[in-house]
Amino acid sequence: MAELLLQANNVAKHFGGVKALRDVSLSIRQGEIYGLIGPNGAGKTTFFNCLTGLYIPDGGGFVFNGKPLLADAPHQAAERGIARTFQNIRLFANMTALENVMVGRHVRTNAGVLGAMLQSKATRAEEAAIRQRAMDLLHYVRIESRADDLAKNLSYGDQRRLEIARALATEPKLLCLDEPAAGMNHTETEELRELIDGIRQDGTTILLIEHDVKLVMGLCDRVAVLDYGALVIEDVPAVVQKDQRVIEAYLGA
């Protein structure tokens, strides 16, 4: 069995009286594509936000790559190797596509103010490397022709790709995708599936929130189902699909 990359232990989060997450425990293995599904309001995005440090869990916590994850430091989550995209795309709208990805390199580079002021050799070399790496990533998600366009002028599908490229720029061990196929047509979804599969082949573990059940079942190695903030089941797609509780959660029967 592959090594564990992420363990969620009894993660709980509530907003006022609403229990968005009730003691959710799950574990993601190195190198797999892990699907997180559930009806609207089941707590999927809340789980993402707790994992990436945007929310502080009210109970429980995460162990990532063998060490506990600090609860309230989003930038440290990225530093440890957790990158994410957002359900409603969050790009730096008035920066170019290339600059967006270059910002993603921030956490893996270290030129400071002094280096920038003096334009030292090391700073210039790093800057060139950042630019090169960003170009390569744009090429990887196949939007290199849009490198100099402002992010907000990209098509919807390209914006999704750009967000993935920016996340990959942080060299994540775990890439969290929040409904990447939302609003995409069949062809685009198909291309996205190839992209995600390719990223996994290149060694990045993927956590995928998705509404498109077909996409999840076809792509994921294992799937967890959330309903009303609680974990219903965590297993391979074939088992999950036949589970009576899952069918009920989705059909409301």
Partner: protein, 356 residues
């Protein structure tokens, strides 16, 4: 670097350089007062570029920027005047002023940077006032700032025996005090422009821009937003501190009156009116807003006399009226500023197209 070497831009740069070098002599024809006005224009460029780091790059609305200018000015005044009997050389005090202002920037920044937009603006506004009121009242029980009377007889900038305050002959050319300060300020401001340009196109500059665009996304890609905002505050503050030091030396006198809220607002207006985040725009804004009121001061009276044969409106009120009207008109017809960066221009055009 190659773009500097092509003949056309080399010619342009030479032309600008010659113009800038000749400017104080041209201005002196209208009297030394005009050279002083020029000097203040450059000082405002300096300040506006400092504030541009905070407001333009990092997107933090700071209404108390003048406080750092005040801190720098008083640091210089206290260390180079008979008030404490200290007379340190300017090249020691200017860096100290930068460090002290930077320290105040961090003091203001660390508790407030969780706030944004309007809330941050109000806190910084309060901070600016607190500093001014402190300067006004720190004369008892121990007299530190000499209160509302201010500090007088501040040493001019001097290198050895070469003083910047009096007229002297260099290579057969007579240079007045203000003219010498002009060249000093010009050299400093060129340095600041270079620093600004380099910061903008750096890893740190991009991170600031990312924070301005979308703070949550910036956090998600691993940017420590708190520290970077603090850095922007500290950098902006140190520029303000240096500018304050030069101001102190040039004037020979500081008092709390020079650091009122309207000064903060003027500098912010320079940044916004010129083109937030765009360095050439900010320079243009600072030059226009510092020279225009002075030009009006000298121009409004005589023009009225010429047209109407008598003073219809008090020149001082008319001056501010015209100035205010000009600001309103610019913001109405050029909302992105007089010389916005290409991106910002597009941003506003797109917004306009959507709304219209």
């Amino acid at each position: 670097m190659n773009k500097w070497l092509n003949p056309r831009s080399a010619f342009g740069i030479t032309l600008i350089a010659v113009a800038l070098l000749a400017l104080p002599f041209v201005a002196a024809m209208g009297g030394q007062a005009w050279v002083r006005i020029l000097n203040f224009a450059i000082l405002y460029v300096f300040l506006a570029l400092g504030l541009n780091i905070v407001v333009g790059f990092a997107g933090l609305l700071d209404l108390g920027y003048i406080a750092f200018y005040a801190v720098g000015a008083y640091t210089y005044a206290l260390l180079a005047s008979p008030h404490f009997g200290l007379h340190w050389p300017f090249w020691v005090i200017l860096p100290i002023g930068a460090v002290v202002a930077c320290f105040f920037g961090v003091i203001l920044g660390s508790p407030t940077l969780k706030l944004r937009g309007d809330y941050l603006a109000i806190v910084t506004l309060g901070f600016g006032e607190i500093v001014r009121i402190f300067m006004n009242n720190l004369n008892a029980p121990i007299n530190i700032t000499n209160g509302a009377q201010g500090i007088t007889l501040i040493d001019p900038v001097a290198i050895g025996d070469f003083k910047f305050s009096n007229t002297s002959q260099i290579l057969g050319i007579s240079l007045s005090g203000p003219q010498k300060y002009y060249y000093l300020l010009l050299a400093l401001v060129i340095l600041v422009i270079i620093i600004n340009l380099r910061l903008q196109n750096s890893r740190v500059g991009r991170a600031w821009q990312a924070i301005r665009e979308d703070e949550i996304a910036a956090k998600a890609v691993g940017i420590d937003t708190r520290n970077l905002k603090l850095l922007a505050f500290a950098m902006g503050a140190s520029f303000g501190g240096v500018a304050g030091g030069v101001f102190s030396a040039m004037q020979g006198f500081v008092s709390p009156e020079s650091f009122s809220l309207i000064e903060s607002i003027m500098i912010l207006a320079m940044v916004v009116l010129g083109g937030m985040g765009h360095i050439p725009g900010v320079i243009l804004g600072a030059v226009l807003l510092s020279i225009l009121p002075e030009a009006l001061r000298y121009g409004v009276g005589p023009i009225q006399m010429a047209i109407f044969g008598k003073m219809l409106v008090d020149p001082e009120s008319l001056r501010m009226l015209i100035f205010g009207l000009a600001l309103v008109l610019v913001m109405r017809f050029k909302p992105a500023g007089l010389w916005p960066s290409p991106e910002r221009k597009r941003e506003l055009q797109d917004a306009g197209a959507r709304n219209g």
